[in-house]
């Protein structure tokens, strides 16, 4: 038996008894950023492939959510900072080793790009829209000319944004639960499925809805594969990672993870979408809302559980 106690009365309220440094702001941002990344990637991909007419909502309407999500996410990040007035220090240097640094720079690129993409499609929402000033009209014409380049930038930076939300956590080897490179692709997949779910909610076109139900199904399959892979990795790894996995296999996060993320967030929507594709009548909103809910819960549970997992020495 080994018992370890701190006898000097150390009470670091943000650390003891388990790390308590990140609260709702970070998982909320990871979710919002991931969903925005998913929406923008899908829009850019279908635009580049010239499928704009078939997937009108995904390319032209759903992206209007992205800037809103990104701004809310940035706000959450800002609230999380303890030295708020120094936030500009993020943009005085580029640190390639720090995922948070290139995440900050990625947001610096993708946020304006998402605004420009929306500005180019503003007449789909407000048909009477007028930019009023000549220079704004010129700017619109300029970006319209380079729309394909813009779409490529949006696709690449969207992918980086989606992956970075996971890599951000996996760079911390002090927290064994986070220290797995699967988190990058898992969070990207989760963001893409939330992005596809957003189009599923907004689209009224039957063919488009069918296509996006299929996309969601495929991504849910990938997510399940990645989750199984993640646990295989933990269980075949060192003691601290085995203990991290045990939090989900009988430990304190078992119910919340398997019920909210896996059953309600992945298996249920997959089942409903299969039934819907079989032409059964199912209220259209349920399955995409469950996907978005599962995506949100995944971020919350991983961020909170990661802070509990630690090295013991």
């Amino acid at each position: 038996m080994k018992e370890e106690l701190i006898v000097s009365g150390r009470m670091n309220p943000m650390i003891d008894p388990s790390l308590n440094i990140w609260h709702w702001q970070i998982p909320l941002y990871l979710f919002l950023g991931g969903m925005a990344a998913g929406i923008l990637c899908i829009a850019a991909l279908y635009y580049i492939r010239g499928r704009e007419k078939d997937y009108y909502t995904a390319v032209r309407i759903t992206p209007f959510l992205a800037p809103i999500l990104l701004v809310l996410g940035l706000l959450a990040l800002f609230i999380d900072l303890r030295h708020k007035l120094y936030f500009w220090q993020l943009y005085t240097n580029i640190k390639l080793q720090s995922p948070m640094s290139w995440g900050a720079w990625t947001l610096m690129v993708i946020t304006p790009v998402s605004f420009i993409w929306c500005a180019l499609h503003i007449r789909d929402i407000f048909p009477e829209w007028d930019w009023k000033y000549k220079w704004l009209k010129d700017l619109e014409a300029f970006f319209n000319r380079f729309k394909k380049t813009l779409a490529w930038v949006m696709l690449i930076y969207g992918l980086i944004l989606g992956i970075y939300t996971g890599i951000l956590l996996s760079a911390f080897n002090a927290r064994p639960l986070w220290n797995t490179s699967i988190l990058g692709p898992l969070f990207l997949a989760s963001g893409l499925s939330a992005g596809a779910a957003a189009t599923l909610i907004m689209s009224k076109d039957k063919a488009e809805r069918k296509q996006f139900a299929k996309i969601d199904l495929v991504i849910i399959g990938i997510e399940l594969f990645l989750i199984i892979h993640m646990f295989m990795g933990y269980l075949a790894s060192t003691q601290v990672q085995i203990e991290a996995a045990e939090m989900f296999l009988g430990g304190q996060y078992t119910v919340s993870f398997w019920v909210f993320v896996v059953i309600l967030g992945l298996l249920m929507p997959a089942l409903l979408e299969i039934l819907e594709l079989q032409k059964l009548h199912i209220p259209a909103l349920i399955s995409p809302l469950l996907v978005i809910f599962g995506s949100l819960m995944l971020r919350f549970i991983i961020v909170y559980a990661g802070q509990v997992s630690r090295y013991l020495y």
């Binding site: 038996m1 080994k2 018992e3 370890e4 106690l5 701190i6 006898v7 000097s8 009365g9 150390r10 009470m11 670091n12 309220p13 943000m14 650390i15 003891d16 790390l19 440094i21 990140w22 999380d80 900072l81 303890r82 030295h83 708020k84 120094y86 936030f87 220090q89 993020l90 005085t92 240097n93 640190k95 080793q97 720090s98 995922p99 948070m100 640094s101 995440g103 900050a104 760079a171 911390f172 080897n173 002090a174 927290r175 060192t238 802070q307 630690r310 090295y311 020495y313």
Partner: protein, 177 residues
């Protein structure tokens, strides 16, 4: 130059003088500390073994905190001492999450704070406050590149260990066993 510290677990009695000395010297805010004492009880009665360690930042060579810091506020000063520049720190908490030793805390003023090996004292040729004040003289501080420094001499003579070597941080806080 490579500053390091060795703590003799056979001599340490866990009096916490080092903790109080540090809090006073560095004006550490109430409820926080830059160093702390851990007591480990191993075995089953009556075969018990106890180890007492005065712990602090390990000033790692491969520091996850310096690597994860997005602004460069966490940096290496002379002799490999890991420091935080208050005016560059945004208080994002990445370094706190990245430290396997939980050696950092968010200062109420917003930036992240930690052990500095009392760099302001070292520059004047003095020892860190915790080393200076220890009543059992169980702590050794110095330059590992200097074969005649206190820490080099004691590490040559004694068996030692570091904490969580498997985290790959190459810590510079040695515990004599």
């Amino acid at each position: 130059m490579r500053y390091a510290m060795a703590v003799d677990t056979k001599k340490c009695v866990g009096c916490s003088d080092c903790v109080v000395a540090c809090q006073t010297e560095n004006n550490v805010p109430m409820g926080f500390c830059r160093d702390w004492v851990v007591e480990v009880m191993d075995g089953t009665y009556p075969q018990l073994e106890m180890e007492i360690r005065s712990e602090r930042c390990n000033h790692c060579v491969n520091s996850p905190c310096v690597r994860c810091c997005p602004t460069g506020a966490s940096h290496f000063a002379e002799g490999g001492i890991v420091l935080v520049k208050e005016t560059e720190c945004i208080g994002c908490g990445a370094c706190i999450a990245s430290c396997p030793y939980d050696a950092r805390y968010p200062h109420p003023d917003g930036y992240v704070d930690k052990c500095t090996f009392c760099i302001h004292r070292i520059k004047k040729g003095m020892k860190p406050a915790c080393v200076e004040v220890c009543p059992t003289k169980c702590m050794y501080f110095g330059d590992l590149d200097d074969a005649n420094s206190d820490v080099s001499i004691v590490l040559k003579k004694r068996k030692y260990k570091v904490l969580i070597p498997e985290a790959g941080t190459d810590p510079q806080l040695y515990f004599l066993i």
